[in-house]
Symmetry: none
Subunit: 126 residues, 4 copies
DNA sequence: GTGGTCTAGACCACC
DNA sequence: GTGGTCTAGACCACT
């Protein structure tokens, strides 16, 4: 799993890590049960502070995406909390994205098409 | 137009204002050409500083959603910049939302259905 | 002479008027000695305040581009103050324009070429 | 890098800072990758408010001339957005400068000569 | 330490 | 009246 961080982004680094891991799981790049690097190793590899990685992992743990075990370090959850609805945050994000898409003149079928492709795992690089 | 701000959110107030106005335009709650409240009035009404409202308006202006006329204050643009693609930011947001939806166990048809409804203007309250 | 004003521009209206008249003289659209509309008429025509037009005319007068006569109203000067150097303001503007051109990757010959054409009267519309 | 600000100018301070940094990069006074002073330090040094410096930096960031790294503060971009044309604003400025030059009686070859020198980095002090 | 945000008040330019 | 700018402080999030 390769993380690509943008230090000049306005998205905090810990969140970038968290998000990319979530996307990775959803993509299949990371499999349920798979072991994650230790906080120290990951921090060293990326060249950032352990605190930052720690925070990302805590976030992921809290969201139920990973499990941390004192002996084994962290690994991807084998079962995710399922729900019939999106989280409030996700819904708020989606609301804004859709609004901007409409105002940008992207027709509905095209937007739906994009979502459909992305859901199938066809995630754009950006 | 009613704004509902969350002062304890990690989303800055000026951005919340910006976002809600974008959603409002897309919704039809705000119509192209419609006048926005003056910076001072809106600040007073919400109970925040004029600078904060100012910043929200500047952002909107820069994004092409409103125009400010030296004489009349601000109003919604009558023409929006159209593009065939989503902005990078929007795309990145969408990527995360979809990933979370998948991990939450929301099936594709349901997610698409949600997007479809939202695109039609049926925005959930949250 | 047609003025095209942008009320949502950050350039004050009186300055837009002043600038367009300067460009017009340089272009040949306005000839030395030619009469300008009265302040009141111009204001009425454009739909702005007389104060604004007044200020534009005062600016032009002060810069030596027009002459105002109590009886005849204003007209373009027949002789302009000549100098071997640009005004400080113009020089400062030019400095910034050239810097931006360089940083935008516009090569020297191309920039010079553009200036040359523009000097010959080939002014772009914008 | 020394900034010389004119507090009585009609050009806002934040813009003066922004412009001088742009000129500085183009000049070579500031090199790509070079670190800029922190907002606080620069504000202290100049004797103005941090908000004002902040705004200048935001502008520069938005224009792609600097990047701010969450960890290190701000530094000059290493790659600039390149384009084949001048920005609309720059073109409008240039139009006015050239018009004034013509009306001031500055002959074409002299104006071109000035531009040429300035492009080469020979910026006049004013 | 850094940048980002916000406040409460002020002043100015423009129209 | 409007928006635009600036100040002198404060607090917060991130690293």
């Amino acid at each position: 799993m390769l993380l690509s961080l943008d230090f000049s982004s306005d998205v905090p680094i810990y969140l970038q890590i968290r998000n990319q891991i979530v996307v990775g799981i959803s993509n299949g790049t990371l499999s349920p049960g798979e072991k994650l690097p230790t906080i120290r190793n990951l921090a060293l590899e990326i060249g950032i502070n352990t605190m930052t990685v720690n925070r990302a992992y805590q976030q992921l743990k809290q969201d139920g995406y990973i499990i941390t075990d004192r002996r084994n370090g962290a690994c991807i959850s084998k079962e995710f909390y399922t729900s019939t609805t999106l989280s409030e945050k996700a819904l708020a994000s989606l609301k804004i994205v859709i609004s901007e898409a409409k105002l940008n003149g992207i027709p509905k079928y095209e937007f739906i098409n994009l979502c459909s492709k992305m859901y199938e795992g066809n995630m754009p690089e950006v």
